[in-house]
């Protein structure tokens, strides 16, 4: 009996995994009926759809900060201390393109606030989101080189 219960549990979990992979609306609803599988799927990782690099390979992104200090303008690509931390920070920057204008500005404001805590003499801080545009193979062979392109810019001034 225990074994049968175990198999039923395994199969039920697999059904949730399968639904998650097919982007099932099960995991988006509220209420007890849909909320319970949603929380379970979140805890167990069954809510993923595994769409890595799909349908096409996107662009890598980075965040640049411009600020003034002692009358001089400084520009720096925002990078963290370790490779793992940079991967995570990069994931966040990549996701900025999916946000609406208001959310993008809020995220940039948050970054600017962090930067101000380090450089509080600065009169303004500009947060620039850039994406690395890689052309297709044929375009590259015709002479278009991969390049960093500005995709979003927000300026914050001290009042």
């Amino acid at each position: 009996m225990k074994n049968i219960a175990l198999i039923i549990f395994g199969l039920a979990h697999f059904v949730l995994v399968f639904h998650g992979a097919l982007k099932s609306p099960w995991f988006r609803g509220g209420g007890l009926l849909q909320g319970a599988p949603r929380y379970y799927a979140d805890l167990t990782g069954a809510d993923n759809w595994y769409g890595f690099f799909s349908p096409n390979v996107g662009s890598g992104s980075r965040l640049k900060v411009c600020w003034t200090e002692m009358g001089r303008v400084h520009t720096q690509v925002l990078e963290l201390n370790t490779h793992e931390a940079n991967l995570r920070f990069g994931t966040m920057v990549d996701q900025l393109s999916n946000l609406d204008a208001n959310q993008k500005r809020n995220v940039c404001a948050s970054v600017a606030g962090y930067w101000w805590s380090k450089h509080n003499d600065s009169t303004y801080i500009e947060v620039i989101v850039e994406r690395f545009a890689v052309p297709s193979i044929s375009e590259y062979r015709k002479g278009t080189a991969p390049a960093w392109v500005i995709s979003y810019k927000a300026r914050f001034e001290k009042v």
């Binding site: 175990l6 890595f52 931390a85 920070f89 996701q95 809020n106």
Partner: protein, 395 residues
């Protein structure tokens, strides 16, 4: 080549007959090491990533993910004396302790459940920074935690958990391949080219690939075939090892070119522990099935089951009433199965046992004792001629 591959796997993964439980223990140690390395790598950036004084403030995170199950402000409501930074640091410390215990081989309920819970908390503390490895470590920790709880109640916990991991991996790769196949880049070869030159991920530029477009195209399509076909190929015994080897090579490529070391390591671990380690274990518990070698129906039913069983079922065909084994009667009138402990089963029970071993869930064989199974088997046997059995069939 096969010998070299076998030897390498034998050296690193399974020196002798290993059980499903060992397979999960290896997974636990491996995931523990990855988790320890990952947490240690995040330590210098705890303030930037996970504190409200960092790059993303609490209000922004709340706006990005409205129904966060856990946040620093929530922890502070429970523990008012804790500062935002101390919450993040405490979580990292607890995660490091759990991962060290896992890496040292502890497989207790406390170790796995605490690692799973603390990792889940970290995952939601700043979910916008999560990428593949976070999800897969969470998945692996969930299975390990569930196994650690269930093994006290059932001895079948390990085989069932390993089976669910196998099915989960099939869904992961097949759906990932399917979603990729919807994109144009994966058919033209631009996907491999772009992924190999995607700054800031790549360790070194690979623009030379542009002069080998056919190589990129073949590579992209091979990734699609490998991922979409994974769900089917791993169940075919002769394809399983080469397929897993190809997937492992793909992940090594991802680690070297794109710098996703921890992600690749977790995926390689999951693949080896789900498919390669239990495969060795199964050989020790193989069953032997005796069937009428002349019977076309018997052959049609038994051969595919033997093929997918990956050597867990040894077939013995009985021809012209000759039997080479003492436990098989010369006049075979039913299917017989001999288990590894020497017990002989016949009829419906033997057939269910055969299916159970073929799909690597031996305990399902107990279903053969259910009422009606034997009658169903007899009814099938009586009407076997409908399915193509010729007159000489002994059963």
């Amino acid at each position: 080549m096969k010998y070299i591959f076998d030897s390498v796997l034998r050296c690193f993964c399974y020196p002798s007959r290993l059980s499903h439980r060992t397979s999960l223990e290896i997974l636990g140690i491996g995931v523990g090491i990855v988790l320890f390395y990952m947490t240690l790598s995040l330590l210098p950036c705890v303030t930037e990533l996970y504190s409200s004084a960092g790059l993303l403030q609490e209000a922004v995170l709340d706006a990005l993910e409205p129904n966060r199950p856990i946040s620093i402000s929530l922890v502070q409501k429970i523990l008012p004396f804790a500062s935002p930074q101390s919450v993040a640091w405490a979580l990292m410390g607890l995660l490091i302790c759990s991962s060290i215990r896992m890496a040292l081989g502890s497989s207790s309920v406390v170790t796995y459940c605490s690692a799973w819970f603390f990792h889940w908390c970290l995952k939601h503390l700043c979910s916008v920074t999560n990428y593949g490895v976070v999800e897969f470590v969470n998945i692996a920790l969930f299975y390990l935690a569930v196994h650690s709880i269930l093994r006290a109640f059932s001895s079948a916990s390990a085989p069932v958990i390993v089976r669910v991991i196998q099915l989960h991996l099939c869904v992961v790769y097949s759906t990932s391949g399917y979603w990729k196949s919807q994109g144009y880049d994966w058919w033209t070869g631009d996907a491999i080219w772009k992924a190999s030159n995607m700054e800031p991920l790549v360790a070194f530029p690979n623009q030379w690939l542009a002069w080998f477009p056919l190589f990129c195209q073949i590579g992209s399509i091979m990734v699609l075939v490998l991922e979409i076909g994974y769900g089917a190929a791993v169940w075919v015994s002769c394809l399983r090892r080469p397929w897993i080897a190809a997937v492992v090579l793909m992940h090594i490529g991802i680690a070297l070119v794109m710098g996703l070391h921890t992600f690749s390591l977790v995926m390689i671990l999951l693949n080896l522990c789900a498919f390669i380690v239990p495969q060795e274990a199964k050989r020790g518990n193989a069953i032997t099935v005796a069937y009428d070698g002349h019977c076309r129906v018997c052959r049609r039913v038994i051969f595919p089951l033997v093929a997918i069983s990956n050597r867990a079922v040894r077939p013995v065909g009985v021809y012209e009433g000759k039997s080479l084994k003492s436990w098989i009667p010369k006049q075979l009138d039913t299917i017989l199965v001999k288990s590894s402990d020497g017990k002989v089963f016949s009829g419906g029970e033997a057939f269910v046992l055969l299916i159970a071993h073929s799909i690597n869930i031996p305990m399902l064989g107990q279903l053969g004792r259910l009422p009606g199974i034997e009658n169903a088997y007899r009814a099938f046997a009586r009407n076997r001629k409908i399915f193509g059995c010729h007159k000489r069939c002994a059963i």
